[in-house]
Symmetry: C2
Subunit: 364 residues, 2 copies
Amino acid sequence: MTGLLEDMAHRPAAWLAEPGADSSVTLSSRVRLARNVSGLKYPSSADPETLRKVINYFKSSRERSTTLSKGSFFSSSEINDLDRDFLVERHLISPTFLDGNPNRALLIGPQERVSIMINEEDHVRVQALVAGLDVHTAYKLASEYDDEICKLIDIDYDPDFGFLTTCPTNVGTGMRASVLIHLPGLVLTREIDSVISRLSKLGLVVRGFYGEGSDVLGNLLQVSNQTTLGVSETEILSNIDTTTKQIIEEENIARLRLIEEASNQIEDKVWRAFGILSHARTLSSDEVMNLLSAVRLGISLGRLTEITFSQVNEILLLSQPAHLQKYYGEEMDPDRRDFIRAEMVRAKMKGNMGKENISAPPKK
Amino acid sequence: MTGLLEDMAHRPAAWLAEPGADSSVTLSSRVRLARNVSGLKYPSSADPETLRKVINYFKSSRERSTTLSKGSFFSSSEINDLDRDFLVERHLISPTFLDGNPNRALLIGPQERVSIMINEEDHVRVQALVAGLDVHTAYKLASEYDDEICKLIDIDYDPDFGFLTTCPTNVGTGMRASVLIHLPGLVLTREIDSVISRLSKLGLVVRGFYGEGSDVLGNLLQVSNQTTLGVSETEILSNIDTTTKQIIEEENIARLRLIEEASNQIEDKVWRAFGILSHARTLSSDEVMNLLSAVRLGISLGRLTEITFSQVNEILLLSQPAHLQKYYGEEMDPDRRDFIRAEMVRAKMKGNMGKENISAPPKK
C-alpha cells in the first residue's frame, strides 16, 4: 500500500493534471453511484460477517471481469491514517469511509479515474472523476464499472423506486453528480449568495472543496444534485451541466466587471498572492488555497503568465497535509508542515517541479 | 524654488543616504537650537512688521557671514503646499512651520545638513541632521551656524536662565537633540513599552517618525531630550548618546532572541514583506513603512541580501506622498499615488534606481 501511495504522491491526480473543458472555472466533474447487494443488511446495520460477505462478492466479481480486475485493491486494514487522509485529499474516498470499521475495502482503478468503496454508507459506491466540466464522461466511466457489478452481483433494485440505498435521499438513481468550480469573481462581487440560493431552488447543493460541512476555501465550490428519486440519470446530468454552464457564464461576466471596475485592486490582489507564495517561509494549507485562488484568477484574466493552471493545481494538492508528508516521505507536526509547505510552494512557483530541487532543512 | 526641490527629489537626503554609525538600528541624529532676537516680540505675539524685521536681520547677517551665505534661502511665499510637505518629509522643516503665516523664511544649507527656520515658534531655529548615531557631530554642525548668528544678531540670553524661548520647555540651552531609531526587536518581543517608560524617567521623550503626535509607523521612533534648563549642552548630548547606545544593545539582544526562538516566523515576516513590496500593485505609504521595517530587520540579521539599507532608505523617503509627486513631477490623488508608489517600489526593489526604468501608465 505505502509503495503505491508514495508513487501517487509524486504524480498529480489525473483530474487536476489534465486541462479539462472550461478549465478556467471548472476544476473537475464527478459522478458517484450507490448500490447494495440483495438479501444482505445494509452497512449501518450489518454484522461483520455480512460486511465480509460483501467484500467477498466484490472480490470474486473482480475475478470474472476484465474491467473490475484492473487497478489496485486494498482492504481497510492495509490503509493507515496518513494513507486515509491522502486518499481523502485526492478525492478517492469520502472522509468517513475509513473511520475504524475494519470490514471495508477499496478499489482504485487505472489513472485514479474510478474508485470503488465497499461498505461505506452503502455496500458499493462507484465513483468516477474527470478534469474540467464533463459530467457525461464521468458518468460513462462510472457506468462501465457499475454495469459489470450489476451483471455479476445481485443488486437491490425496485421497479417502482429504482436502486435502494441506506439513506433515502439516494434512492432512485443512487447517483450524485458534482462539479468543482472556482468562483472568485462571484465571491468578490458579492453575487455568490444569490447564486447559491438559486441553485438550492433548482435542487442542487453547494459545498466546500472537501464535501459536506467543509469550509469554502479558495473560492472553490462543489455543486451537486440533491434529488435522486423520480428523475433519470440523463436529467440529473443535464441539470448539472446546464446549470454549471450558466454559473460559468455569470462567473466570467463577474470577472470582466472586476477587471473593468477595479483593475488595480484585482491586479494587486493577484500579485500580492503571487509575491507571498513565492517568498513566505511558513504557510498553512488554508492560506495556500486562498492565495492560489487569486493566482488562478490572475491566470484566467491573462494578468499572470509566470505560472500555469497545472502548476497551481499541483501546488494545491501537494499543500494538503497528507500529500505533503507523503511527498517528503516524513511524518511532520503542523509547524514543520507549514515550514516545509512554504519551501515546496516556493520551489514549485519557480517551476522547479522535481522534489530534488528542494533541500529540507534539519528537523527542529 | 520648484527647480531646487525637483532636483532634491531625485537625490536621497544626506541623512538617509550615508551609512552612519550603528546604522542597523539608528537612522539619524538631529540637533535643534532655538534662539530669539533681543528687543523684539516673539513670533506668537509679534506683528507682521516685527517678523519681517527678523527676516531682514537674518538676511543681512548672511551678507556678512561665509557660513550663513551658503545654501539656498527661501521666503515662505516661494514655497507652495507640495513643497512644504516635501520639506517636512525630508525633516528639513517642522510640520507647523508653513501654516499660512507669510512672514517666514528658510535656509537650507549645503547637502541639506543644516536648515534654519525663521519665525517658526522662535525667531530662529537652527537644525542639523546627520546619518547614524552621532549627536555630537550634529551639535557641532548646528553650532557652527548658531555661533555666526549669535555673533551677528543680538540674541536674547539671560545670565541665569540661558537662552530665552517662546515655550518655557526650551529655555536654557534652547536645544533639542534627537535620534531616529528602528526598534522592531523590542516591538516584536513586547519590551518596547517598558523601554519607553524608562526613557521618560530619564527625561527623554519618545515620538513617531514625523515628530509630535505622529503614529509609530515602521517601528521607527524618535528619542529626544525633554529638559533644556539647568543642564549643559554636553550633558544633554551625552545623556542621549549613552541612552541610545543602551537601547541599541537591548534592541540587538531582542533581535538575537527572536532569531533564536522564532527564526521561522521572523524569516517569514521578512520574506513576506519582501514579496509584497516586490509584487504589490497598490501600496499606501504607511504600509510601505511597515513592510520596510521587516525588510530592514531582515538585512540587519543577514537573512536578506537582495537589498541594501540605502535602497530601503531611498524607498522609505520616495514613498512619502510629496516625494512621490515631486519625483514623478505630477500631482496625484491618493489612489493614483498608491498605484504609482507600488510601481516605484517594485522598480527600486529590483535595484532599478533610475526614474527612466519606470513607465507610469496613463492616468485614469
